[in-house]
């Protein structure tokens, strides 16, 4: 173990908080949970401050051999750092969004804190088995959050969620066991540099893909997401969209791409195809939803497709773009679920048609909702744009068809989000109860303002977020270089015209 074990501390704080919450009554549990997440946020900021950009690839490493073949090994690179920051940033907001929870508050808070422990663990783990444990364990509290504190159809939703995500993981576990036996280590950094036989890679890749595609979620294994989101309480939706969906992308970038470069390139067209299908199909489905949460859930699937095409563009723009889409989506989709939660708390319905004209009685809400809507549809200057632009720009270099189809997402995205916004915020106040809803209160403002600022920060000065991962992405890009596809758009060199002809280029045409 080297230096101060800040990573372990970040796991320990919410873990202790969770244990405490189990034995506390409601009010105290809320306070403890909020405190624990805030402490983790402070630790996260300290982590970011002390992260040496351009320094060693793996920093803050901790190692403890527990027993033969199983090591408690933590450590982060820039990619993990960013996702950890996203998690610790969203957690206090989730706790804040859980004001309306009244049933079994202590256990609810404990479940949330456990989610935080496992999520952070996923991003910190440097041992494959440790990763797997965190990765799968994260399901359990989430499953319970949906199943116990969810809406009317929560049992079905939680089953769907659990079945999908766990069944996908079994294959991954088998693949992991095989890899450890072959490579002789479960150390992730070592495995990332290990060259597996390209033929075997295809099988391993598929096994990991089964798990990550579900977690992502990619079309057509996405149907758990709308169900889970609709039934989950607001805080659960925020954390589900904000961080749990990032575990699939993280898996691709940490395992699939560096460990199986040849297989990744081989299966690239498959991923593109599924992503194209996702962008078009789920966007169209979002267009016809009458349930706000379902609409945003489907839009998440479309956004995650932009992540996967960025990842499987195999170049720096695509990879950095997909990371930024993940971060941005975490903030923005989280914020949008929060916005839904705000009015759900007041009217207890997610039916879009029950609202309308909110700009009149909730002007502040209208402003924030608009900002997040714009960030979601990738307006330049907001976080949504930079990632989307880089991802699409990345895939354009490899496949113009994929770029074209996926870029239609900017049209469809604008259509369904603005259509939603119009029905909720514009128009006359059709319903008296919706018209009587008060505007955002201080607690709600305290939740949305940080999200809004972060979304703008990431849009105007994304360098803060690109810098930490630049070296890691470059390394990954170099690792992929040997298998990189040629791209279908390579230009031939031009035949520069002689100067006089150039000047008369147009005149000469007639």
């Amino acid at each position: 173990m080297t230096g101060f074990p800040i990573l372990s501390l970040m796991l320990l704080v919410p873990l202790l908080g969770a244990l405490a919450c189990l034995f506390l009554e409601a009010k105290a549990a809320r306070t403890v949970a909020l405190l624990a997440t805030l402490v983790d946020l402070v630790l996260g900021i300290a982590l970011w401050m002390n992260f040496d950009v351009g320094g060693a690839q793996w920093q803050f490493t901790e190692r403890l051999n527990i027993f033969s073949g199983f090591t408690y090994a933590l450590g982060i690179d820039g990619i993990a750092l960013l996702l950890i920051m996203l998690s610790v940033f969203l957690m206090p907001i989730c706790i804040g969004a859980s004001r309306s929870i009244e049933k079994r508050v202590g256990e609810y808070m404990a479940a949330f804190l456990l989610v935080e422990v496992f999520m952070l663990g996923v991003f910190m783990a440097q041992d494959m088995y440790l990763f797997y444990m965190f990765f799968e364990a994260g399901l359990i509290p989430m499953y319970l959050i949906i199943g116990i504190w969810g809406g009317a159809d929560r049992i079905y939703a939680s089953y769907k969620f659990f079945l999908y995500t766990l069944l996908g993981s079994v294959l991954m576990l088998v693949a992991m066991l095989w890899m450890v036996h072959t490579a002789g280590t479960s150390d992730i950094p070592t495995l990332m540099a290990y060259d597996f036989d390209p033929h075997v890679q295809t099988w391993l890749w598929l096994a990991f893909f089964a798990s990550f595609a579900v977690k992502m979620p990619m079309w057509p294994v996405h149907t758990w997401l709308p169900a889970a989101h609709v039934q989950a309480p607001t805080g659960g939706s925020v954390i589900l969209a904000g961080v749990l969906l990032k575990m699939g992308g993280y898996g691709f970038i940490r395992f699939s791409l560096p460990m199986f470069p040849e297989a990744s390139v081989y299966f690239g067209p498959l991923v593109w195809g599924l992503s194209m299908a996702a962008v078009v199909i789920t966007s169209l489905i979002a267009l016809v939803q009458s349930d706000m949460k379902k609409l945003i859930a489907y839009s998440s699937v479309a956004h995650m497709a932009i992540v996967t095409i960025g990842l499987f563009a195999f170049n720096v723009q695509g990879l950095e773009g997909s990371m930024l889409v993940m971060l941005s989506h975490g903030l923005v989709a989280g914020a949008l679920f929060l916005c839904v939660g705000v009015i759900y708390d007041r009217l207890h319905t997610r039916e879009i048609s029950r609202y309308g004209g909110l700009a009149i009685n909730m002007p502040r809400y209208a402003v924030f909702f608009l900002l997040f809507t714009m960030a979601s549809i990738g307006l330049p200057g907001t976080s949504g744009f930079v990632g989307e632009f880089l991802s699409l720009g990345g895939i354009y270099q490899v496949s113009t068809w994929t770029a074209l189809i996926c870029t239609t997402g900017i049209i469809l995205g604008a259509a369904y989000m603005l259509y939603l916004y119009r029905r909720v915020v514009f128009g006359e106040q059709k319903n008296a109860d919706a018209a009587a809803m008060p505007d955002l209160d201080a607690r709600e403002l305290a939740m949305v303002i940080p999200l809004a600022l972060a979304a703008l920060w990431m849009g105007v000065y994304p360098e803060s977020f690109i810098a930490p991962m630049r070296a890691d992405i470059a390394a990954l890009d170099a690792r992929l270089a040997r298998a990189k596809p040629a791209g279908d758009s390579a230009p031939t060199p031009g035949k520069a015209k002689p100067a006089h002809e150039e000047a008369a280029a147009h005149g000469g045409s007639h």
């Binding site: 200057g381 113009t400 259509a415």
Partner: protein
Amino acid sequence: MSIYLIVFLPLLASILAGFANKSLGFVVPKVLTTGALFIACGLSWPIFIAFLTGSAEASVFPVLKWVASGTMTFDWALRVDTLTAVMLVVITSVSALVHLYSWGYMSEEPDQPRFFAYLSLFTFAMLMLVTADNLVQMFFGWEGVGLASYLLIGFWFRKPSAGAAAIKAFVVNRVGDLGFMLGIFGTYLVFGTVSIPEILHAAPTMAGSTIGFLGHRFDTMTVLCLLLFVGAMGKSAQLGLHTWLPDAMEGPTPVSALIHAATMVTAGVFMVCRLSPMFEQSETAMHVVAVVGACTCFFAATIGCTQWDIKRVIAYSTCSQLGYMFFAAGSGAFGAAMFHLFTHAFFKALLFLCAGSVIHAMHHEQDMRFYGGLRKKIPITFWTMTAGTLAITGVGIAGVIGFAGFYSKDAILEAAFGSGSQVGTFAFWMGIFAALMTSFYSWRLVFLTFFGKPRWNQSEHVQHAVHDAHGHGHDDHAHDAHGHDDAHAHDDHAHDDHAHAPADLGMRGPDYGDHGDGTGGYHPHESPLVMLLPLLILSVGAVAAGFVFNHTFVSEGEGEFWKGALVFHEHLIHAMHGVPMWVKWAPFTVMAIGFVTAWYGYIKNTAFPKAVADQLGPVHTFVYRKWMFDELYNTIFVKPAFWLGGVFWKVLDIGIIDRFGPDGAAAVVAKGSTYAQKVQSGYLYSYALVMLLGLVGAISWVIAG
């Protein structure tokens, strides 16, 4: 350095005004935003004059790092060169005047701070667009003005038609932006940079190269230029992507003047001129630009001749004039395109603001069938509007003097003809026909509005005013616009026809008033000074912008003015001067024909237009219904999108994926549910613990074994 103030003062003012909203009253936000714009305007003119006198050089002012991803880097920066300087004065001048005008026009509006904040936000985004040094910042401004446009079209958000128009504007523009984005990607792929100067410098070296796109190989520059041009088509409402512009008239009239006439819609023209060295490399792309422009200019003019809504006539007129600018650019006359952009900004803003003044006087009635005889009632509006009409119809005597549009439009037509290509000739003839129609619909508008007998008594809006006057004063004329009591009256404007509208002029509807003179007892008033002042200032521009700047923009040897900011063809200027005499006189002739026709149809023999429309039958209906574009797009895009969405959801997601996926699996493990239900009511930590221990145990067993 003043460029920082020019660009960021409006942003600052917008933020302050937006956040203050109503907490500081109406005056503070209005002073902040208007003041910021007048300062920006005052700082912009010296920059423009410095370029005029040749004492300024193109320069770039850095602001902030933006994105550096691998070799793709782009920063926030402000570029100032001749092209930017032209746009700076256009944007800040019109915007400042529109801000001022809105003091009067929006004076009854309870949401004024929000309106002014949006206007300033728009101005900031537009300035970012024209000062962009790289394609991505241009895209930022591009989408930023789109956002402001969305917000302003939807300003009266209670009206369903405003909400719909706002979405339509944004989404249709996004179709263009799809092309723009792909164009940027392609440009980066080819040139390895998105910096505009670097691209333009390298563009000639790529002539003759090919690139793969969608599985085929095409000429590189053609692909790039056409993709970028799709973006320009969206923003500048060119044929096919124009459908949003007429609907955008749902916004308050000052917005129409600033955004949907003078500035934002010209962004596409600006982009083509800015990237003119790229477009020059592809003859195909140039031809496409010219043909699209020519078709738009013709097509929009035909619709303009048939519409009754005063704002829609001017909207189609704008669409048509943008077509002129594009076919000028497509003919290689980028200087002429910018010249027309410049003059058009003044006279079209003037026309819109005059229309606003008329609408203001007529209690938000926009249907010209209910106008008439307003000349004496609102004389200043009448005279300024006449100045604007003289400018747009291009009144002037070749070689002597003329109004603004005379110089710029003639320059375009001569350039198109002078370019000598088939496409140029095609554009020339389309332009001549459009000029005829421009003259016709512009004078038709003037005659219907200001001449003849009053027809106000048939207007619901006017009737409201008259009735209100008995109750609580007749100045309450903005009331229906924001739906305090009778929003329905305004909603009618979403449709092309008022339910109660007479089928044609001369046919009397129910006469609400008993005054017998068609006034219905209504007395229109001239607008207040804050509204008239901008009209008078813009009139100066409409009268003088042509002959003052003609030399600068399109004369021989004036490539020096542009200093390479756009491609300037000396030989085309020579060709323009060498066109036959009939070409020089053709615009004047058709202008005169249009004027006489309008005079005959709307003053002399008012039954004539209806007779012609009846004679034309389905042709008239087709044009009147705007060539059925909305119906067509509804049928082939909007409805199928919703239908497909429903199918994908119900059939694909629920019917197939769920049924054979998780639900099928769930049925298999249904037995487990009894156990799980116990857990639901049990203790979660015990469950979690068991799960975790099980996992650890399983793994260690496998490893150890």
